[in-house]
Amino acid sequence: MPSVTFIQPDGSSQTVEAPIGESVMKAAMKADVPGIVAECGGNCSCATCHAHVDEQWFGRLESAGDFEAAMLDGVIEQAPTSRLTCQIKMREDLDGMVVRVPASQY
């Protein structure tokens, strides 16, 4: 089972199972990763599943579509590698991806 590692602002980390085809957000929610809120349940409508994808992995992702890109402009702590984790579908070649949780979604 592939996995994703979430790093918290305080440096602590959690490596969680991330099934192929499911979103990185769902993987975080199933494992109770703190700081990924996902208010709207994965509908690209709230921007509270926001995270900073590690630079080593960011380039491998399919680019954000227009709707996600529009939402990213409204996140707290926007950064060049910001993504909405509900829009990242897990693939085999993303096994081991590192993602940083922002200090706040609000």
Binding site: G41, N43, C46, A70, M71, D73, I76, Q105, Y106
Partner: protein
């Protein structure tokens, strides 16, 4: 059939043949206005106690009622089965052309929903919260010395209007005009007056849409007015609906919820004192009070035959969702009528769920937090005015129309 009397409903529609008799109950989802039973959510729970998770009522030409947390979650979570094309009963009362994004299903829904998501993003909410806070302080300081207020009239509509004006980039001098129109829509003297005011809001919206098409700004109206769907600009008709939705969606809902919060706290001094002493618990209190005092009634129409909770909902049949029946479902929330700030989990369906879940949920939460954060230190002890009358009115949204409060200045 047991249950309450149906008000002003023409000859009850015959029950479709496929629905078993033990799933049929009398219930009018919109008729609970009262100056006696102020607690709308409790009334809805009481009237539906013991009923199955989904049942049929002959009211409003006949429709289903989603009456348990599990059923409500399915109906709101499966747009492929339960379309938002029809959101009120009876059928003919639905807007045509449809109000967007409310009456749209995925994927088209997102073409219109995106504008609301952007206007109400976490970043936008931070800035709008500052506006709400400044105004809340101004209003409270304004009536504190009087020792009394009608909370609805003198406080609760003002924040949502100021916020809408900021989202839409409207000039301060338009505020009293908007306030007057809103007043005539929310507390109409006649149906004619209400419709006139709605048309006034529509005309005002069209004026702004045209202005912003000619001279775009950074505001939400400019964004929508110059936006494209499948490469085409959005029609003026659809835009007018979207702009008025932006105003109305956050108005009687937020004002209504604020009213229920203050009605509850006016009668629960220990909880007031607790929150005043522990303002860090205010966010938890806001979510628990949101759960307890659900106010909206939603609707869907079956897009195909669906098996749910042991019945078949046939294609074309409408389902009404009474959100209090989620928050006050004891199977999901034990002792659901009790307000317990420590209750876990903290999730609820007062903002709905699924793709149409309230786009303004975080803004609403922020306004409610600001209310408690700024009111409690300034007016820590207050009561319902024994010489005044609290009035609750409802249609698709329940709200307090009048909430007289008194305190020692």
């Amino acid at each position: 059939m047991d249950g309450d009397a149906l008000t002003g409903v023409p000859a009850a529609a015959p029950t479709p043949a496929h629905i078993p008799a033990n799933r049929v109950f009398a219930y009018d989802a919109y008729a609970h206005s009262s100056d006696v039973d102020i607690d709308y959510a409790r009334t809805v729970k009481r009237k539906n106690e013991g009923r199955p998770g989904i049942f049929w009522t002959p009211a409003h030409d006949g429709h289903w009622v989603a009456a348990s947390a599990d059923v409500i979650e399915r109906v709101l979570g499966e747009p492929e089965n339960f379309s938002a094309r029809l959101v009120v009963v009876p059928r003919e009362r639905n807007m045509d052309p449809p109000l967007l994004p409310v009456q749209a299903d995925p994927p088209d829904w997102m073409n219109y929903r995106i504008f609301f998501n952007k206007a109400l993003s976490p970043k936008a909410v931070q800035s709008l919260t500052a506006t709400a806070r400044n105004l809340a302080v101004q209003l409270i300081e304004g009536f504190k010395a009087k020792g009394r207020c009608d909370f609805i009239e003198e406080f609760s509509y003002h924040l949502p209007i100021a916020i809408f004006m900021q989202i839409a980039g409207l000039p301060a001098e338009d505020r009293s005009h908007l306030l007057q129109l809103v007043h005539r829509v929310m507390r109409p003297i006649t149906e004619e007056d209400r419709m006139g005011a709605q048309m006034g809001l529509g005309a005002y919206s069209v004026e702004k849409i045209r202005e912003r098409r000619a001279n775009p700004g950074e505001d939400a109206i400019s964004d929508m007015a110059n936006g494209l769907v499948d490469g085409q600009p959005i029609s003026e008709h659809t835009l007018t609906g979207m702009v008025t939705l932006m105003l109305m969606a956050g108005l009687d809902t937020v004002a209504g919820m604020m009213g229920f919060f203050m009605w509850h706290l006016a009668q629960n001094p220990e909880q007031r004192h607790f929150l005043r002493a522990h303002p860090d618990r205010i966010p938890d209190a806001v979510d628990e009070l949101l759960r307890r005092f659900s106010i909206t009634t939603q609707g869907r129409v079956a897009a195909r035959d669906v098996e749910i909770d042991g019945v078949t909902v046939k294609r074309g049949e409408q389902v009404v969702i009474c959100t209090p029946l989620h928050g006050l479902d004891d199977r999901r929330y034990p002792n659901s009528l009790e307000v317990d700030f420590d209750r876990k989990p903290r999730t609820h369906y007062t903002f709905g769920g699924g793709v149409h879940r309230c786009a303004g949920a975080n803004l609403a939460r922020a306004e409610l937090r600001v209310l408690l954060e700024e009111w409690l230190p300034r007016i820590p002890d207050f009561e319902l005015d024994p010489n005044g009358k609290t009035v609750m009115g409802c249609h698709a949204v329940a709200s307090l129309l009048s909430l007289p409060l008194v305190w020692k200045p």
